[in-house]
């Protein structure tokens, strides 16, 4: 009797999970401000998107509250940045058995960079994949196919939405290439607070020299900082950049020490809050790239 009963409970649970009202929006929960936007753009009126990491909050520091975990468990689809930017995710998934719903976008994108973290020398994957427009186009496609799998009836709408968003990304890409072309190769240096712009640098041939490591939490030592000072002086780097969610103190000292200018504030770890001029992906990317090119151009 017992196995049968267990099976019945299981069947009921499955029915409950699958049998949500057909017209109700797909519940998408995201752990990244960028993916919140992608899900809204692609899903349109067919989805209700809830972003757990608020704009302006450092995702390296974010930890989900119980209410957040409940949203994660109740979601039809969870979109995460992946590449270990959400170290808590595995535990949450393990304890709530919703593994099938979680898509760690960064783990699937075509371009993944690795960085040798200074002290250990071990290569670590750079989680800031969304700074490459190619990866964003892939992410759009991935979200489209996940949403289509959940609601095949709306496949056409998703495809149309994804197509429109993709066009905007492609237009952004060609604008960016034209902008960067103004910078001679000898001026493409990116000195920032932490190591978040590897993908942007990869796309446009910049040399990145961050003060800190891949996480905003990584510690800084004197040797690394002195080498950075030497680098900025030797290459005559004109401007260095602070980030919206990292401590500006090292960069401020670097300015005093080297005579470089402050190039501006970059959005490294996600979108900015409303009114910041970086509240959506295209304006965030434009803000970053304009600041970089504007400060470094002859």
């Amino acid at each position: 009797m017992r196995p049968t009963r267990a099976l019945m409970v299981l069947a009921a649970a499955c029915a409950a999970a699958a049998g949500r009202a057909p017209g109700a929006p797909i519940r998408v929960v995201t752990l990244s401000t960028v993916l919140t936007e992608v899900a809204r753009e692609v899903g349109g009126t067919e989805v209700s998107v809830s972003g757990l990491v608020q704009p302006g909050v450092d995702p390296h520091e974010f930890n989900p509250s119980p209410a957040d975990v409940r949203k994660l468990v109740d979601a039809d689809l969870v979109l995460a940045s992946g590449l270990r930017l959400e170290p808590y995710l595995d535990r949450v998934v393990a304890s709530s058995a919703s593994a099938g719903l979680v898509v760690a976008v960064g783990d699937r994108v075509p371009l993944v960079l690795s960085v040798a973290e200074a002290p250990s020398g071990a290569a670590e994957k750079d989680p800031h994949w969304w700074h490459s427009i190619g990866n964003m186009i892939f992410a759009t496609e991935l979200v489209r196919s996940e949403l289509t799998r959940l609601r095949p009836a709306s496949a056409e709408a998703f495809a149309a939405n994804a197509g429109r968003y993709r066009q905007r990304l492609e237009a952004l890409g060609s604008w960016a290439s034209r902008e960067v072309a103004r910078l001679p190769a000898g001026r493409r240096f990116l000195v920032t607070s932490h190591d978040a712009f590897g993908y942007l640098a990869h796309d446009y041939g910049f040399t990145v020299r961050p003060v800190g490591g891949l996480s905003t939490e990584s510690e800084v030592d004197a040797r690394r900082l002195s080498q950075l000072v030497d680098f900025v002086r030797a290459e005559r780097v004109r401007a260095v950049f602070v980030e919206s969610s990292a401590s500006p103190k090292f960069i401020e000292n670097l300015l005093q020490e080297t005579g470089a200018r402050l190039g501006g504030t970059l959005y490294a770890d996600g979108l900015g809050p409303a009114g910041s001029g970086a509240e959506d992906y295209v304006s965030m990317y434009r803000h970053n790239l304009s600041a970089i090119v504007g400060a470094l151009a002859p």
Partner: protein
């Protein structure tokens, strides 16, 4: 000569190194003095508790006033004093003893701080708060460290007798008309001041290392209060200098390098002190 120059002087051709070591020196002087009283009065762990309780004040100050040093200073100060005064009041008005009151309040404050920074868009970073940016010392941080260090040294000079009496014989001090409670609260305030100033540069955990390790090392060598104070300050200065140089040459996080150097002095003192060290105690035990 040139090798020596490379090891000792060349690192200080960088402005950030000069600033880092200067702020460590300033706080090493005041922290070395404070640390002696903390350990003699068995308040070492209370310092730890106080340090963690600053977090919500700093986070709230950041939300309200942004990144100015003055705002962060007063935010931290308010949170630290609330914890200290709150524990004193709790222990006098309820059955709870002061250590339990402190232990409960500081963890409450710390949790409030973690809740604030995990939910709100502040640039306060838990790692910065705990471990600091000694290589990112700004002008205002240096000014703050200088003022706090000056105030602390002045307080020790002016109230030396009261501090001495309250530390070694509080009952006698109060019997002879000393304002023991006032000295105690003044002392807690000084501790909070120093912690807040050090928080900007060293982070509270490492700052506590700079306060306690030199003092406890000196305690293993000295019998007189005044020599203990001087040696504690000396160990603090030397440890800061060596630590920052080690960080420069070996590529270790700077605040941690300073504390590890101070820790080495402490361990060596605990082992080898001729009168109070472990080896002497073991030898004496072996003979007896």
């Amino acid at each position: 000569m040139s090798a020596l120059h490379d090891i000792l002087l060349a690192p200080f051709s960088y402005e950030f190194m000069r600033r880092g070591v200067l702020s460590a020196f300033l706080l090493g002087i005041s922290g070395g003095l404070l640390g002696c009283v903390l350990i003699l009065r068995r308040l070492a762990l209370m310092g730890d508790a106080l340090s963690h309780s600053l977090l919500p004040g700093v986070a709230a100050a950041w939300l309200l006033f942004g990144t100015s040093t003055a705002a962060l200073f007063f935010g931290g100060l308010a949170a630290g004093l609330l914890t200290a005064l709150g524990s004193a009041l709790l222990s006098r008005l309820t059955r709870v003893k002061e250590d339990a009151a402190f232990g409960s309040l500081f963890i409450l404050f710390f949790a409030a701080g973690v809740a604030l920074i995990s939910k709100l868009p502040t640039r306060v970073n838990l790692a910065d708060f705990l471990f600091g940016n000694i290589l990112g010392v700004s002008d205002s941080d240096l000014r703050l460290a200088a003022v706090v260090s000056g105030v602390t040294v002045a307080a020790f000079v002016i109230f030396y007798r009261s501090i001495l009496l309250e530390t070694f014989d509080p009952v006698f001090h109060r019997a002879t008309g000393g304002r023991g409670g006032l000295v105690h609260m003044g002392f807690l305030t000084l501790t909070v001041l120093n912690l807040v100033a050090a928080m900007q540069t060293m982070g509270v955990v490492l700052a506590l290392g700079l306060f306690l390790l030199p003092a406890v090392s000196a305690y293993l060598w000295c019998d007189r209060f005044i020599t203990m104070l001087l040696m504690s300050v000396g160990v603090g200065l030397l440890g800061s200098l060596v630590g920052i140089l080690v960080s420069f040459h070996a590529g270790i996080a700077s605040g941690a390098a300073v504390v590890l150097c101070l820790g080495a002095v402490f361990v060596a003192s605990a082992l080898f002190s001729p009168r109070y060290g472990a080896i002497r105690a073991l030898r004496a035990g072996g003979k007896g």
